[in-house]
Amino acid sequence: MFKKIAIALFDFFSSVKLAVILLISLAIMLAIGTFYEAEYGTPDAQRVIYKSWFMSLEMILLIINLACAAVDRIPWKKHHIGFVVTHAGIITLLMGSFITQQRGIDGNLALGLNESSDHFSVSDTEFHVYQNFDGRPFALLFQKPIDLDSKPPTKNKYEFKLVDDDVLVIKDYLQKALRKLDVVPTADVKAFPAIKFNLANERVQVNEWLGLGSQAIPPFYDLGPAVVSFIRGNLPSQPQGRNQILVYQDPKDMKLYYAVFSMRTPKPTSKGLIEVGKEYATGWMNLKFKVEKFISHAVPTVDYQEGDQGATETVQALKASIGNKTSWFELENPHELKGDKSTYFVSFTRKRFDLGFQLFLKKFRMKTYGGSQLPMSYESTVAVNGKDETVISMNEPLKFNAYTIYQSSYETNERGEPIVSVFSINYDPGRTIKYTGALGIVLGIGIMFYLKPRWSRKKKGVT
């Protein structure tokens, strides 16, 4: 009975029909994956489709099927060589990929010019909490890997016991968070004044806060052809030399005034008292100016909202609280959070690895094709441990110790000059195994398709 079932199972797992079913189901699954990626982006597709449990199941079934089919044909004859080599090759390749996935490291390092680093980070995230009491320096309380993309705090509980009954709870997480700045009034009379202006015509619409005395809210907004500035004290007597709207609070009556300067005339083209909510013509490009809000003592507050699909400049951010104190933590932007008695330093960060050597970025060069902006090459000149200067470029990575360092991308400053070179850093213990498998697959298929028909023809010729 047991033997019968075992044989039936083996027949099922070694059957070509199962192979066909697996091939087609895999093809369909992957096809869905690519459309999913086009809609929701690469990280989501990787998580939901390519690194899902049913993909693993599919791979396991495939390996069983391949192995059973090969075993089924024992004792192998000459005409089985191609078939066995191919199937063994696929299994080897999948095994190599498994090793890469489990033990490989795939990270990133952004290095500024003349900067060096001895570590790099990967996309996995970690949560670190440091504690400070009695005026001693912060000491690490704990560090834990967290994966809020796969296990969002809306569905999973994240509670961490700290000291003195303090409990830290992760309440919310946004994968594509947009930082939303708002300004609210405060009772603190030392707080700075702020205005929210609106500048609009049929095509342009600008709506921004300007403030005096906070880094979060700059005192001017540059549109390119024109500037809106909020200044202290009285109207300056000097001409401005460009199109500018000046808003100022008169120290005597504490009321808001405006003055519009044009590039050509030294004196303001119009000025007057500002009535909040009333529109004033600027005289340029049909633009109308309005102060929507005026707060004489203001504080900035930051809130986060989920960005739309395709929104750019989003950040990953989590919301954590201790007792009734709540705060948002952006990735790689740690700050303090106060408990009842102690102060904690909370960090939401990417996992880091030591390189084992110092990598120094000496030079970054983007060559373009003559007479055009089309990039031709990206090259980073780096030094390892202060010596061994090498150039890393696309298609020419640097291999050092077990790591391979590739030119990945670059970042520019406001003037568009490259100032940061981004490398991807990789350690792959499965590489040799994968390559062996790959070689087996190609050789095996070649043998199957070209040598086997020849062998069988020869055989027929002999008999």
Binding site: G310, S393, A438
Partner: protein, 538 residues
């Protein structure tokens, strides 16, 4: 016929006393990151602006010179091509009107706002729908035209200390005077046909440009190569030969089964292939790399591969169907390559940094696309076989169909080997340059999906699930996977790392062809089913 009258028209217009601009065509221009003959620059510019390379009997170079020197004459002339219906409606152009004038674009009340919207979308890197693609094309047309008439787009003079060439508008001192002479002599040349001074001025300017120290001015033979390539239209010539060869294969198959007919069809096919190969060789030499970096080049290469495999198979089996299928697919491929320049950009462009490795580019891309060629051949043979099923004539042709199924199977085997090897090589390249053997990038994923589809066919035939009809129908159907991997990822999905080949356009037509193909298979299957049912009953 249309072609012939077209050629006659050109000959006529040339003989009607047009300006001889062959020396201007041979001036070198720096444009789009390349040094190219004026001829190439003019063809590419007029192609974009007017949609053709010959407009109102003027060839591209004459047209560009006329724009440059007589801009006022062109202000209200309708020569800027606009095709998109919704766009025409939006900007108030009549539906049957295919061209508008620069004046109409500049003074259109709606366009500034639309261009602002477009700029916003482009800034946000959003994918453009066909309407905005059309708008973007109009913007490019206008900008290029304005840059040409302002002399800023035409960079004619190499510099000693910089790799940037100097545009006509920025010339100073002696070269400025030399060019001014050229401009002055242009008017009598086109007015009363006194061309001597004009040619003299062109020569003087060119001599000056070539005499620049340290200059990368191309040699005469380099210019020759590109001008020959431009005027030869080798791929157009090749498909005419393929088309004739296909007809002859068909005739030799149906009516005249004598060997001379067969050999003459082979002769046409081989000649076509040689022209094809020469054209490909020219493009290699001009670009300095294997020309497989965009959709157009891959279509040319796949067509060549399809003919190559077809000829090899024909040499082995001598069954004419294979030759017919190869000619059919190659003709379709080359005609598509030749006729939709707005979608398949024919210009030679410099490579993206990551592709600047001739070694990897050659072995990875050529292997992958060569597999497409084998699959295209199998699809062609399969469609010929399906025609017997669709007409209900399978019983009287069963031996033939078994042979065709074998050819389909063999072509699929070649394809699977090449696609598997090519995909793995792609993995090795990616591992070498990015440290990632496999990353589920859409292009590589779709290559795998296409491969899996054909592997399913091979295993299905091996296990007996697929018989003669099944093998044929499934192989033809599996070509949809290749279409998606080849065209769809770049033009439909438009995401991933293989972004250097991304483009837009044609989605409607390609989808239509795939759907028609699937319906054809379904119809053949229906007919096959009813024939088998009848067989059982009788």
């Amino acid at each position: 016929m249309k072609k012939l009258s077209f050629i006659l028209m050109i000959l006529f217009s040339v003989s009607a006393g047009a300006l001889n601009v062959s020396d201007v065509e041979r001036l070198a221009i720096q444009d789009g990151g390349r040094i190219k003959p004026f001829d190439t620059f003019a063809r590419e510019s007029t192609q974009l602006i007017t949609g053709t390379q010959i407009h109102q009997g003027k060839n591209a170079t004459e047209l560009v010179l006329s724009w440059l020197f007589l801009p006022d004459q062109w202000l209200v002339e309708k020569f800027i091509q606009v095709k998109h219906l919704q766009l025409k409606k939006e900007i108030g152009v009549a539906e049957n009107q295919s061209y508008i004038s620069p004046d109409e674009i500049v003074h259109n009340p709606k366009l500034p706002q639309l261009f602002t919207q477009l700029a916003q979308l482009q800034k946000e890197k959003k994918k453009l729908n066909p309407y905005f693609q059309a708008l973007s094309r109009m913007n490019n047309q206008l900008v290029l035209y304005q840059e040409i008439i302002a002399g800023r787009a035409i960079k004619v003079l190499p510099q000693t200390l910089s790799s940037d060439w100097i545009a006509v508008a920025d010339l100073k001192g002696e070269p400025r005077e030399l060019f001014a002479n050229l401009a002055k002599s242009y008017f009598p040349a086109i007015g009363n046909g006194d061309e001597r001074a004009f040619h003299e001025a062109v020569k003087k300017f060119k001599d000056f440009a070539m005499a620049q120290t340290n200059s990368n001015y191309p040699s005469e033979s380099q210019i020759d190569q590109e001008i020959i390539y431009n005027s030869l239209h080798p791929f157009r010539l090749a498909y005419i030969f393929y088309f004739v060869a296909g007809l002859l294969f068909l005739l030799s198959l149906k009516f005249i089964k004598s060997m001379p007919w067969f050999y003459s069809s082979l002769g046409f096919a081989v000649t076509g292939f040689l022209i094809h190969a020469v054209g490909f060789g020219f493009r290699c030499v001009i670009a300095g790399r294997p020309p497989v970096s965009n959709m157009y080049e891959s279509v040319i290469w796949v067509s060549a591969g399809c003919v190559f495999f077809g000829l090899v198979f024909e040499f082995i089996y001598r069954r004419r169907y294979i030759g017919l299928a190869a000619m059919m697919m190659a003709t379709i491929g080359l005609i598509i390559g030749d006729s939709v320049p707005a979608v398949l950009d024919q210009s030679i462009k410099p490579l993206e940094p990551v592709l600047r490795s001739n070694y990897w580019l050659t072995i990875h891309v050529l292997t992958i696309t060569l597999s497409y060629a084998a699959f295209a051949l199998s699809c062609g043979i399969g469609n010929i076989a399906l025609s017997y099923y669709a007409r209900g004539k399978e019983r009287e042709n069963s031996e033939k169909l078994q042979a065709l199924a074998l050819f389909v199977y063999r072509a699929v085997q070649v394809g699977v080997l090449l696609l598997t090897a090519g995909t793995i090589l792609g993995g090795v390249w990616a591992d070498y340059s990015w440290g990632r053997f496999w990353g589920w990038d859409p292009k590589e994923t779709w290559a795998l999906i296409a491969d899996l589809g054909y592997l399913a066919v091979l295993h299905g035939r091996f296990s007996g699930l697929l018989k003669t009809f099944g093998t044929i129908a499934a192989s033809v159907g599996a070509f949809a996977g290749v279409i998606m991997a080849w065209y769809g990822v770049n033009f439909v999905l438009g995401v991933g790392l293989h972004s250097y080949g991304f483009g837009g356009g044609g989605v409607f037509y390609v989808t239509g062809v795939v759907v028609a193909q699937l319906l054809y298979i379904a119809w053949a299957a229906y007919q096959h089913h009813s024939v088998s049912a009848n067989l059982k009953v009788s």
